[in-house]
């Protein structure tokens, strides 16, 4: 898990430098600071389980096993990217590893997880689907509709709310008419827990129990992870216009990576072993950036491919 968390951190740090160096990647919503959530949750999943993501999805992708080389290529708009360069940061998808898509329309990924869980039920598998959403998304009606559907159908869905305290520049205490998003689980006869989202083991434990419940036919659960977004909403956002410096400092004190590293060392791991993991991640990213930069741009003909799903029997597919 530490390695995965480090990989997310390394990825976002690289992207940040690249973006600040002026590499155009469109809007990028850095996951930095929330690594323990994605990694802790996905550690509880099998590779054939599904996740539906948010606009802030890089961490979810890495945690579910999407290849960072393909991610980088996607962000460079290259044809070797996860989405052939057609989607970019806000649409990274890799169904082969159960990653159903970064989704920048707030809340709209949650019913996709419900549908995936329904698919598992109908096809008779024991797969589980996770729906990530932010505390800001908790105000979107579709999230409630998704929870109600999952609950009445007792589907294996784990709703994971990443409560980082802000939706753009809007504080959660202003936008949410409840103290904890987890309190809303009761409105759907779901179990709801709130955990320290900076403690990857706490997240894992809560997710693991929720996944078990889903797999064993006990229906959906809601896990709220209290976390913090270390950078701006996306590049160029000045967080100090809506967050106090003290609050940011305190939050950075609870860096999930450093906390976990300390814990590993306390439990007897060698600093060297841990450093090796970090080094490995740096190499991975060096390779990924090199791969992305060396990859070819999509050709002009790609503008009009994939508009329709290829469909031999349907004339339109040729359009």
């Amino acid at each position: 898990m530490y390695e995965r968390m480090g990989l997310v951190r390394e990825l976002e740090d690289r992207l940040k430098t690249l973006v600040e160096r002026g590499v155009p990647m469109g809007p990028v919503h850095f996951y930095t600071g929330q690594e323990a959530v994605a990694v802790g949750v996905c550690a509880a999943l099998r590779s054939d389980d599904w996740i539906a993501s948010t606009h802030r999805g890089h961490g979810h992708c890495v945690a579910k096993g999407v290849d960072v080389r393909k991610m980088l290529a996607e962000l460079y708009g290259k044809s070797t990217g996860t989405n052939r360069g057609k989607g970019g940061s806000m649409h990274i998808t890799d169904v082969s590893v159960g990653m159903l898509g970064v989704n920048p329309i707030v809340g709209m990924g949650t019913p996709h997880a419900v549908g995936a869980a329904l698919s598992a039920r109908v096809r008779g598998t024991d797969q589980v689907a996770v729906a990530f959403f932010g505390e800001g998304a908790a105000s979107m009606g579709v999230v409630h509709e998704a929870m109600n559907l999952a609950a009445i159908w007792k589907l294996p869905v784990v709703f994971v709310c990443e409560n980082n305290g802000y939706a753009q520049a809007t504080p959660a205490e202003y936008a949410l008419a409840c103290d904890r998003v987890a309190d809303r689980a009761a409105a759907y006869r779901m179990s709801g827990v709130t955990v320290d989202g900076q403690d990857v083991l706490a997240v894992f434990a809560a997710a693991d129990e929720a996944v078990r419940r889903g797999r064993e036919g006990e229906g959906p659960s809601l896990v709220e992870c209290m976390t913090y977004r270390f950078h701006g909403h996306h590049q160029g956002d000045d967080t100090l216009r809506y967050r106090l410096a003290d609050e940011e400092r305190a939050a950075r004190e609870r860096d999930p990576l450093r906390l976990f590293r300390a814990r590993l060392l306390a439990e007897g791991f060698e600093a060297g072993e841990v450093d090796a993991l970090d080094a490995g991640n740096r190499t991975r990213l060096d390779e990924a950036v090199a791969f992305a930069e060396a990859s070819p741009l999509p050709g002009p003909e790609e503008l009009l491919t994939c508009v329709y799903v290829d469909s031999p029997r349907a004339a339109g597919a040729q359009a």
């Binding site: 419900v114 469909s311 040729q318």
Partner: protein, 350 residues
Amino acid sequence: MTVAEVATRELTFSQAINDALRLAMRRDPSVLVMGEDVAGAAGRAHLGLADAWGGPLRATRGLIGEFGPGRVLDTPISEMGFVGAAVGAAMTGLRPVVEIMFVDLIGCCYDQVVNQAAKMSYMMGGQLKLPLVIRTAYGTHGFKRSYGGGAAAQHSQTLYAVLAHVPGLKVVVPSTAYNAKGLMLAAIEDDGPVVVMEHKFLGTAAKGAVPEGEYTVPIGKAEVVRRGSDVTLAGIGRMTHVCLEAAEKLAAEGTEAEVVDLLTLAPLDEATVLESVARTHRLVVVDEDTPTASMARDVAARVADKGFDWLDAPIKTVTAADCPVPFAAVLENLYAPDADRVIAAVEELF
């Protein structure tokens, strides 16, 4: 295959849809039907109550009896949520046929239809199939009443223009029991999202011979349903019948109209329309939707570009009035195109 080869029987449009769904569900266990009261009395089989509605037009009645509640899902009133769930199911191996009771409700799930379903193949670089069918009822009554009223502004709309506008969605509008079944089977076979628009009035009023067994009517192909040399009337759904009615009356006056049933709005079969106009040199497009940014004007504009040299007269569009659908029957009677308005438009071309 042709209709002649196999046994046929008289079915209504809605029965033909039902037949298509049943055949597809029998052949393919991944096909499921979901929507509000597609069965009805959900969860009450133990009380001897089941299948209370079978959908607003009864097109799904009987399916739960054969396929059970696992594949015929009644949904709570939450279009965004359950259409989104259908999208998620289609991403992960099922072929859902989801019903939005009336197209007027598209505003409650528009994002899932036009931002999610329509764009996924493209946004994701073609890495997944999205075999999703969205069924929805549209249109005004189609019969005149002297007083009282109809379903008014929020339960009588056509609106397919706001679906056809968005790249990635296929939109089909059957006009007969025969092509309703064939287009529905084609839509279910299609590996991408297809919207099937079912006219409220045709659902029960359009009866016709329907072959047993499976057959498809190709998506993306228009059909010339009446030959004529003087003018082309292009119709959509119920308007095709209005065009045919107008054509008969015009024939009596010595004008031979060719009638093209568009059948698919996206992707539109431009070629068939252009070929017809090349023969007739005149075009009237008849559309039950409101005029601004409508399919009627879309078809007219394509011909004004690619068929200009064949035209001997202006292109006319006959559409719904440019207002919400009024309740009062005396006003609703004036709202949608009818044969007389089509004839009046044709007469302006000579």
